[in-house]
């Protein structure tokens, strides 16, 4: 089993012991460990169970490509499922649990699936669980769903904070390995602004572990020198623990900074999502090693050869006393040397190539390590971890030549460039016939707003796997990126790397080459999703030939690692099964993010109280203090009603209405939209935007106006006031002001730009207070300052002056049918006026009322409410508002639309009033009138529906309005309204004006 070596460990600080727990067991590690290295150091080889077969899973990799080592990290409201142990920095007190097993990691009932695996091939569920029909819902699906998922679902809200940060840079470099550093330096020295991000906690990538020597110094020193130099430059920002997550249209890039993961709870920001606009993006994302497909390659103890090297060199972790290296490349030999240098045994290097040679091979042979050419692994022995391998000829069918005991198998299948960022936004790939991988096609990059490529690859991410070539490529990339943006100080120097390039790898997609179904059924491609070589072959056989079909049918590459290890091997198997070359088979689409990012980070800072803007009127605090029940209206908060102590909402509403109709009420109408329309052509413009004639309105007078869309449908209404010959004040619905103002500007800027008109949205400059009821005038007169008599200020007139010393504009308009004044006052003084009115009106029992009282009172008068009587399909004529649609005007927005056949249909729904036979019965909202017939679809035929329905305390009965087919012809008819329980409520069609038809109450 794995263990900690006595010496070494480039990254760990043995003087800083950290304690953590895994499945409740207390363990210790060192500062600098990842959770994965610490687990291995503690001999914890088994870290999880696979998705489908619940097979034992160990750590395969040392980075973001890890498919197996996923844990539930943390506890309570800070638990995070599916956290990758290989990129989780160890911190003191860390607690982790393994996933997807019951009752325990060691003994998992679900492992029965592994025994049945033969009966559960790719897509088996499409072929069964169908009979009997009921069984799917009640038996099969529940079972399948229960077994679904990896990590546990969180149960609580997230106490942490997240945020965005907007950054602009000339050159963004993704990746802080030697290529990224070299590219950044080239770009920065050319004078470009450079932002370099590295997902890991250190710069330098693999270079030190792989013993790279640059310009005569070892990689670690060289990297330190670059970092120091770059940090000293004012035009450079270097950031660790920050991953380039996604590349988007026009060169937009999102970065995922794990700012607070190491001290949960204490960090002010957990994750910061950077939104970067970069002139050029250099992808120096390196490469990922490919596993090899042989039977039992998923057993704990089978690892990527590079990962074995990493654990030994970076963390002083022995993967086991005996490591068999199985390789198709020279690179595998580096692992053999690293293992031997650590004082561990390498029983054999199995090289699939018939005649391996080169300096690395010689070095290994020179160390007396047994090298077997043309050999591979027939089968891995062991269940919960490797106990040995059966060696066979790679060329054959798997006849066992020899059994070699070992604790670790290191797979070196060759390297594939990380092409995700390049591909997110449409960069194309080439198949490299010698390296056997896809690499970016420099001639077909992702393109930006200018049609030019905005991404440049650097280092091994471009294809070349040897240090010298990679460095040269990186420097050139950095220079090219800067130059494209006009920064150039001549060709930069290219650092020189020692050593020669590795020989070409062999293409080993199946081991052994002639493996039969038995072995293919045990050779894994996707370790997390349990996709085997045999599954891909079955998909091809059944006609799921497109790579997308195969992926979706087998779930290959759909695990949380998104196929970083499995895609190329899977593609190769597919192309082999189809007898088509790999480039023809193509790849699946690379989707952002590169590795999963928290939804919290995606949402950013907008949570809790910052979730969505709330708009407050100048009188908001008074409402809050008065215990108002809030109703959201757009982004506004409006009082729905003001219940007194134990009062029910309905009682409060009735009280407010009665008090207003019998005395005086007060309404905060500040949310009403207010738009100034001014200029020589203002009247002409309003004639076009309103259905009414506005040019005939007299100065100082008010007129109720309607606005329709070009489609003819009513979308806003409000009172228009003519302030002067060429200046109007247009009131809109609450929450309608922005929409209407934008609408006016749209027509002025894009259609009628010859009109001399200025508009201004002055909604927020004024608070607006409606004082309503028979005693309204006397309250205002006592405040003093203006003559508000019927003669001085008749109905639908406007006056300016001062009330109680405050400059105001008063509109004599009414939405309740009562004597009513709407007072516009500068917002900064609105609260003061409100308080004065309350004080002055106290004697008259002045009563603030909310939106519900407003709605009931307007309904009693048969006034329509946009959004209740209208729904985007209603024209003014439907609402008996034809009088407000000018016949004289040659044109207005919506006029032409109203001529279409469907809008002139006499059977259109029209607004009517309803009186239920039982006056106590308030019809349900949205109830439909039924004819008793069925329609062409076999549904019950409906005649119309209720649009507003209330208990009227004034009339002491229920009232309702409805849109009913041919409504105006049905006056006096009784209609059947169908209730939830199927009962019928009878209601008589009446005039929608229920109260004071002649308007005597307001004309006083």
């Amino acid at each position: 089993m794995s263990s900690r070596l006595a010496t070494g460990g480039r990254r760990i600080d043995r003087s800083k012991r950290l304690s953590f727990s895994f499945n409740g067991t207390k363990l210790t590690g060192f500062e600098g460990d990842t959770l994965a290295s610490a687990l291995l150091a503690n001999g914890q080889d088994l870290v999880g169970r696979s998705f489908k077969y619940h097979r034992p899973r160990g750590i395969v990799a040392a980075g973001a490509e890890e498919p197996n080592a996923l844990v539930a990290l943390g506890q309570g409201d800070r638990m995070e499922p599916n956290q990758r142990a290989t990129i989780t920095e160890l911190f003191d007190g860390l607690s982790a649990r393994s996933q997807n097993h019951w009752p325990s990691l060691q003994f998992d009932i679900g492992a029965i699936n592994a025994r049945l695996s033969r009966f559960l091939p790719a897509g088996f569920y499409y072929k069964t669980f169908m009979q009997p029909r009921a069984a799917w819902k009640h038996l099969f699906e529940p079972v399948i769903r229960k077994s679904a998922g990896l990590g546990p679902a969180p149960t609580q809200g997230d106490p942490d904070r997240y945020e965005y940060f907007y950054a602009h840079t000339d050159v963004l470099v993704a990746g802080g390995g030697i290529a990224g550093l070299a590219a950044a330096r080239a770009a920065a020295e050319a004078g470009a602004r450079v932002l370099l991000v590295e997902q890991d906690s250190r710069f330098g990538g693999r270079s030190a572990t792989d013993g790279v020597v640059i310009d005569g110094t070892d990689a670690e020193a060289w990297v330190a020198e670059q970092v120091a130099a770059l940090s000293a430059m004012p035009n450079v920002d270097l950031r660790l623990r920050t991953m380039a997550a996604g590349v988007y249209d026009h060169g937009y890039v999102t970065l995922y900074e794990r700012a607070g993961d190491r001290d949960p709870g204490a960090a002010p920001v957990r994750h910061r999502l950077w939104r970067v606009r970069a002139g050029r993006t250099v992808t120096a994302t390196g490469a990922i090693e490919r596993p090899i497909s042989f039977a039992g390659n998923d057993r704990p103890g089978v690892m990527l050869a590079s990962a074995v090297r990493d654990y030994i060199d970076l963390y002083a972790v022995s993967p086991g006393d005996r490591t068999v290296v199985v390789t198709a490349t020279d690179d595998g030999y580096r692992t053999a040397l690293a293992v031997r240098d650590a004082g561990l045994d390498v029983p054999a290097v199995l090289d699939t190539r018939p005649d391996p040679k080169g300096p690395l091979v010689d070095a290994v042979r020179a160390r007396g390590i047994r090298v077997e050419a043309g050999r591979g692994i027939a089968k891995v022995r062991g269940t919960r971890r490797v106990t040995g391998v059966d060696i066979c000829a790679q060329a054959g069918e798997g006849a066992v030549i020899e059994h070699v005991p070992c604790e670790c198998v290191a797979m070196a299948g060759g390297w594939s460039p990380v092409v995700h960022l390049w591909s997110h936004c449409g960069g194309k790939l080439l198949w490299d016939e010698t390296a056997h991988h896809f690499r970016p096609d420099p001639d077909r990059p992702p393109t930006g707003a200018d049609g030019q490529g905005f991404a440049v690859t650097a280092g091994t991410a471009s294809g070349p796997m040897d240090t010298g070539a990679a460095l040269a490529d990186a420097v050139e990339a950095g220079h090219r990126a800067a130059k494209a943006l006009g920064h150039d100080k001549g060709a930069p120097r290219i650092p020189q790397a020692d050593g020669t390039a590795d020989g070409p790898p062999a293409a080993v997609w199946m081991m052994p080459h002639g493996a039969g179904p038995e072995l293919r059924g045990k050779a894994f491609l996707d370790f997390q999703n349990d996709v085997k070589v045999s599954d891909v072959q079955l998909a091809a056989q059944e006609g799921y030939q497109s790579v997308e079909h195969t992926k979706r049918y087998t779930t290959l590459g759909m695990a949380t690692d998104q196929g970083k290890l499995s895609n190329i091997n899977g593609l190769a198997i597919l192309s082999d099964s189809l007898g088509a070359p790999i480039p023809e088979v193509g790849t699946t689409t690379f989707r952002p993010p590169y590795t999963p990012i928290s939804l919290g980070a995606v949402a950013g800072e907008a949570r809790g109280s910052l979730f969505k803007p709330v708009r407050r009127t100048p009188i908001h605090d008074w409402h809050a203090d008065a215990g108002a029940v809030w109703e959201p209206v757009g982004d506004w908060r409006r009082p729905y009603c003001y219940p007194k102590d134990e009062e029910s909402h309905r009682d409060a509403v009735n009280r407010e209405i009665t008090a207003t109709r019998s005395g005086v009420g007060l309404l905060d109408a500040s949310t009403l939209g207010k738009i100034i329309v001014s200029g020589p052509d203002a009247a002409a413009f309003l004639d076009l935007t309103y259905t009414n004639m506005m040019s005939s309105l007299k100065v100082g007078r008010c007129r109720y106006g309607l606005m329709c869309t070009e489609n003819g449908f009513l979308f806003d209404d409000g009172v228009v006031v003519r302030l002067s010959e060429d200046s109007f004040l247009c009131h809109t619905t609450s929450g309608g002001s922005d929409r209407v103002h934008a609408w006016m500007e749209e027509w002025l800027q894009t259609e009628w730009w010859d009109l001399k008109v200025w508009t201004s949205n002055v909604t927020e400059q004024f608070g607006q207070i409606a004082i309503v009821g028979p005693k309204a005038r006397s309250v205002l007169e006592r405040l003093g300052g203006m003559d508000l008599s019927a003669e001085a200020l008749p109905f639908m007139a406007m006056a300016e002056g001062t009330l109680g010393g405050i400059g105001v504009r008063i509109f004599r308009i009414s939405f309740s049918g009562e004597l009513s004044y709407e007072i516009a006052v500068p917002a900064g003084r609105a609260r003061a006026l409100w308080d004065m009115l309350l004080a002055e009106g106290a004697a008259d029992g002045i009563t603030p009322y909310g939106t519900e009282a407003l709605h009931v009172m307007r309904a009693e008068k048969g006034y329509i409410m946009i959004g209740d009587e209208t729904d985007g399909t209603v024209i003014p004529q439907d609402l008996n508002l034809g009088w407000a649609v000018s016949k004289k005007k040659s044109d207005f927005i919506g006029k032409r639309a109203m001529e279409r056949s469907a809008l002139t249909d006499p059977d259109r729904k029209q607004l009517v009033g309803l009186e239920t036979e039982d006056p106590a019965l308030v019809l349900p909202d949205g109830a439909h009138a039924v004819s008793g017939q069925t329609n062409r679809f076999g549904q019950q035929e409906t005649l119309g529906h209720v649009t507003s329905t209330y208990w009227s305390p004034t009339l002491n009965r229920s009232i309702a309005m409805a849109l009913v087919s041919g409504g105006s012809r049905r006056m006096g008819e009784t209609l059947d309204f169908s209730l939830e329980d199927g009962r019928i409520a009878k209601a008589r069609v009446v005039d929608p004006v229920f109260l004071d038809k002649d308007g005597e109450r307001q004309n006083v």
Partner: protein
């Protein structure tokens, strides 16, 4: 994330600062137009896979509407220009033809 230059305030605004407004250079058909003309004006938008003339508003910025010539397939932007014109100006047409020699202005 589209990035368009507002011709009025000169800002390279990103999509989150902008509001899209659909096809540009529509001829408004009001009273007097026949049903087909009116339908086309209201609904039958050009929907090309390629060069598209469209309206945008610098909603969070100067509030001005402007026009853009953009490829709906590659998202390449050939230019932005004033909203107060009924057809694309010559420099925009030239910019498009330089990048797309065989492109023709649809009838």
């Amino acid at each position: 994330m589209l990035i368009l230059r507002c011709p009025y305030c000169g800002v390279d605004a990103e999509e989150t600062d902008l509001a899209p407004g659909g096809e540009a250079h529509l001829t408004r058909h009001g009273p007097g137009s026949d049903d087909a003309e009116f339908r086309d004006y209201l609904f039958q938008r050009r929907n090309p896979r390629g060069v598209h003339f469209e309206r945008w508003r610098h909603a969070f910025g100067c509030g001005k509407w402007f026009h853009a010539a953009r490829c709906t397939q590659t998202l390449e932007v050939f230019g932005t220009y004033s909203a107060q014109c009924s057809e694309p100006p010559e420099e925009i047409m030239t910019a498009i033809r330089t990048r797309r020699p065989d492109w023709e202005m649809p009838a």
